[in-house]
């Protein structure tokens, strides 16, 4: 099986393997069964590793977080600062820098900088965007402006998938809820038995 | 009243009795008067129903259909009618006897006793009228469960142990084998209805099942019906001897064991079709197993000193006759089996009544202690003697006819070895049954002073009636034969 995989593929998966290693460490702590607190820590690590697994899936090479930059109008009009290099030698670096947000071959960087503000936002400042529903926004003019800009950017920039992030937000919350409950139970167990070592408790139960 | 309604009424009456008894548990006289009245009414209804059935009507009622083709339904045919008549008729006597016995014995939990008793009779009637295998199975299980409290009536450790064996064997065989066989039948035939000529023939002809499979299926049925007490699953019968004697009478004469052999008979006739069985020869092994049960049962019975235990093994042996008749599967042997259900029921119940009467009157249960009791209790032992004759199969006992038909059946099939078995077994019957009245009448009293007299009237009257009945059956065997003939005839019609 492994023989079928070329090195490139292997390297494309190394993150997953690290995550799997972390998961299994946590899982081992859970099932090795000794101290209750240790078990709960193990569960925590297990869950955190699953979060990492999901997040790893969502990443796109050369993509960026699915949050459209707000601070347009500063710097060169993109979410990241391009550090104001004027010198010719730095242009390559600058362009390379852009590729992190934008498609490498798009070449529409310039358009994105100047185009939208005039074409998409109408005179009254109301956003009438691209096939926008009838709702008009005034309470969010800033956002609308930025949106006009980001609307175009979105067409060019690669964003990582937001869905795994969303799922994992939920999963983390679930994890902390579970942890809180488990710890509360541990406190009760300690009050009842005077120990949090599982084998001692079981021994006490057997003799009781 | 239409026959359909009569079926329902006949089955409802014992339940009414059960409820009546439960309601008036605190007032013994009302309770028991109700029992007797209802039992007589049940018998009357059965007789009315019988007039229809024996006039070739086949009333049928479906209560509820659970899955398509899978229902609780009742169809009355002669064999079942005969069985219902026996059960309901003997119920009257058993009830009367039980009242006498229980009062004479100051038993506790009498209400529970009579409730379960009525439910058991209900189950027996339901089994008798069952229109399909499933209904039969349900009735069979109701009977098992309702008789369990009767067996463990005394509630002590011994009774509970006996009850456990009783319930354990009956339930486990019925669930593990009987149920499996039912499912298999359903799978093969797509129906569970009792049909004259059987329902499995089509599956066999269609190649859905091999001869070996058929033999296994028959085995599952034969052993699944644990109440037929085919060896080696007969242990529950002696174990159930811990029960009070009326219960033993019910168990070993009327309801439980007869439901077992009745089911075997019915399955052979209406599920397999006895022509199919004979043709394929799948039942040959069963013949020999039954033969062995006959002999071994008789032999074991000889070794028992406890009267009830001896009778129990005698029952094992006698039940095997019926199974044998079913396994031989000729029209004669089938009729013989059907007759033997009746003959043995009447005979054996007499014997148990006697045993109970002796126990009530003299507190004796071992045969060796009964020396000279015959003089003190002439009616009881006289009845015992008559019943013995019937069980052994000597004229003028009813058993003579049934054994005759069975012997003819074996001869028809050329099973000479089995014929010899039957004869030897009859000798053994003499050897273990006749010594009891001989001991009671012929030997002088023991050294100890005995001041016994007959058991209470409520005990003695029923046993005299049944003893007389067992003799009368010898003279009216013709009627039974006529009644049972349609079973075999219908089959022939289907064949031709």
């Amino acid at each position: 099986m492994i023989a079928q995989m070329d090195i490139g593929q292997a390297l494309g998966l190394y993150n997953y393997w690290v995550v799997i290693f972390l998961m299994m460490t946590g899982f081992y702590m859970v099932i090795a069964r000794g101290n209750l607190i240790k078990t709960i820590i193990g569960l925590n690590i297990f869950q955190t590793s699953v979060v990492l697994l999901y997040v790893t899936m969502g990443k796109v090479k050369g993509g960026t977080a699915p949050i459209m930059p707000l601070d347009v109008g500063h710097g060169h009009g993109h979410g990241h600062d391009s550090h104001g290099h004027e010198e010719a030698p730095h242009h390559a670096a600058d362009a390379a820098d852009h590729t992190m947000l934008q498609h490498p071959l798009s070449g529409r960087v310039g358009e994105a900088e100047e185009g939208p503000a005039s074409s998409v936002v109408d005179a009254s400042g109301h956003f009438t965007g691209i096939s926008e529903p009838s709702v008009q926004l005034t309470g969010f003019e800033d956002a609308a402006h930025s949106h006009a800009d980001t609307a175009h950017q979105a067409a060019e920039a690669i964003y990582s998938n937001p869905l795994p992030s969303v799922l994992m937000l939920t999963a983390i919350v679930v994890g902390v809820a579970t942890t809180a409950l488990a710890l509360a139970l541990t406190v009760r167990i300690r009050e009842e038995y005077g120990t949090i070592e599982e084998d001692e408790i079981l021994e006490m139960d057997r003799t009781a | 009243m239409t026959p359909e309604n009569l079926i329902l009424i006949a089955m409802a009456l014992p339940l009414v009795a059960a409820i009546w008894v439960a309601l008036f548990g605190k007032i013994p006289n009302v309770r028991e008067a109700g029992s007797i009245v209802v039992s007589i009414a049940t018998f009357a209804v059965c007789c009315m129903l019988a007039t229809h059935v024996f006039a070739d009507a086949r009333p049928s009622v479906t209560l509820s259909e659970m899955l398509p083709g899978f229902s609780i339904s009742f169809t009355v045919e002669p064999l079942g009618m005969l069985f219902a008549l026996i059960a309901s008729g003997l119920w009257i006597l058993t009830t009367i006897y039980a009242i006498g016995y229980m009062r004479g014995h100051h038993e506790t939990n009498q209400t529970r006793f009579f409730v379960c008793f009525a439910v058991a009779i209900f189950a027996a009637l339901a089994a008798a009228f069952a229109g399909n295998l499933f209904t039969l199975f349900v009735a069979y299980e109701i009977m098992t469960v309702s008789t369990y409290p009767l067996v463990t009536h005394h509630g002590d450790e011994k009774a509970r142990a006996g009850g456990r064996v009783y319930l354990g064997i009956l339930l486990s065989t019925s669930i593990a084998f009987f149920m499996l066989a039912i499912v298999w039948t359903w799978h093969l035939a797509g129906t569970l209805d009792f049909k004259p000529g059987g329902i499995l023939e089509l599956a066999y002809r269609g190649g859905k099942i091999e001869t070996l499979g058929l033999a296994i299926l028959l085995g599952l049925f034969a052993y699944g019906i644990g109440k037929a007490a085919l060896m080696p699953f007969h242990r529950w019968l002696p174990a159930a001897m811990v029960a009070p004697t009326p219960v033993s009478a019910l168990l070993h004469a009327v309801a439980v064991v007869k439901v077992g052999v009745f089911s075997v008979l019915k399955i052979v006739v209406y599920i397999f079709g006895y022509d199919l069985i004979r043709e394929t020869g799948v039942s040959e092994w069963l013949c020999y197993v039954a033969g062995a049960s006959i002999l071994i049962g008789s032999l074991v019975a000889m070794t028992k000193d406890n009267l009830k235990a001896r009778l129990a093994y005698s029952t094992v042996s006698q039940l095997a006759y019926i199974t044998l008749g079913a396994a031989i599967a000729t029209s004669g042997s089938i009729i013989g089996s059907g007759m033997h259900i009746a003959m043995h029921a009447v005979g054996k119940i007499t014997l148990f009544f006697c045993a109970g009467a002796i126990y009530v009157a003299a507190h004796k249960s071992n045969i060796s202690d009964m020396r000279g009791l015959g003089r003190a209790m002439p009616f009881t032992f006289g009845a015992f003697l008559l019943a013995c004759i019937s069980i052994i199969g000597l004229p003028p006992g009813g058993g003579a006819w049934s054994k005759w038909f069975l012997a003819v059946g074996t001869a028809d099939r050329g099973m000479w070895f089995l014929l010899a078995t039957l004869m030897i077994s009859s000798l053994l019957n003499i050897a273990y049954l006749v010594p009891v009245p001989i001991l009671a009448f012929m030997t002088p009293k023991g050294a100890e002073r005995q001041t016994f007299k007959e058991a209470p009237l409520m005990c003695v009257v029923p046993l005299c009636i049944t003893a007389v009945g067992s003799v009368l059956l010898f003279f009216f065997a013709d009627q039974i034969y006529d009644v049972l003939l349609p079973i075999t005839e219908v089959t022939k019609e289907v064949k031709s």
Binding site: L11, K61, G62, D71, D81, D94, A96, D97, T99, M100 | -
Partner: protein, 113 residues
């Protein structure tokens, strides 16, 4: 394999990127050192110290990384880290002082939850 293993990502980096990477690496080295101390112990306070230091370094790492990736608005996360680090420290100290989270003797006023 195109998504695989190119040393500097999908395209070359400029000087800035090298700088940030160097800076992050330095921070990572420090983190490693702190981790070593946390593992060695020997007293609980050594560990707390290492943890505190580790937390601070994470804050720095996040700041630098957010510059590296060009998403500076993410330093919110760093802000949160610094807060959590401090609160965690206080919790640890409180724990080591009193042995439990509850009220200390002189703070007790009899209120119960």
């Amino acid at each position: 394999m195109e998504y695989g293993f190119t040393l500097f990502g999908s395209a070359g980096y400029g000087f800035m990127q090298y700088g940030y990477i160097a800076c992050s690496l330095a921070i990572l080295v420090t983190m490693t050192l702190a981790l070593i101390r946390a593992m060695l112990g020997p007293t609980v306070f050594d560990r707390v110290l290492a943890l505190n230091m580790f937390g601070t370094k994470t804050v720095l790492l996040i700041c630098v990384v957010s510059f590296l990736t060009g998403r500076q608005d993410f330093i919110d996360v760093a802000l949160l880290y610094s807060l959590m680090n401090f609160i965690g420290m206080v919790a640890l100290l409180r724990f080591s002082q009193l042995g439990y989270f509850g009220e200390s003797e002189n703070e007790r006023t009899g209120a119960t939850s």
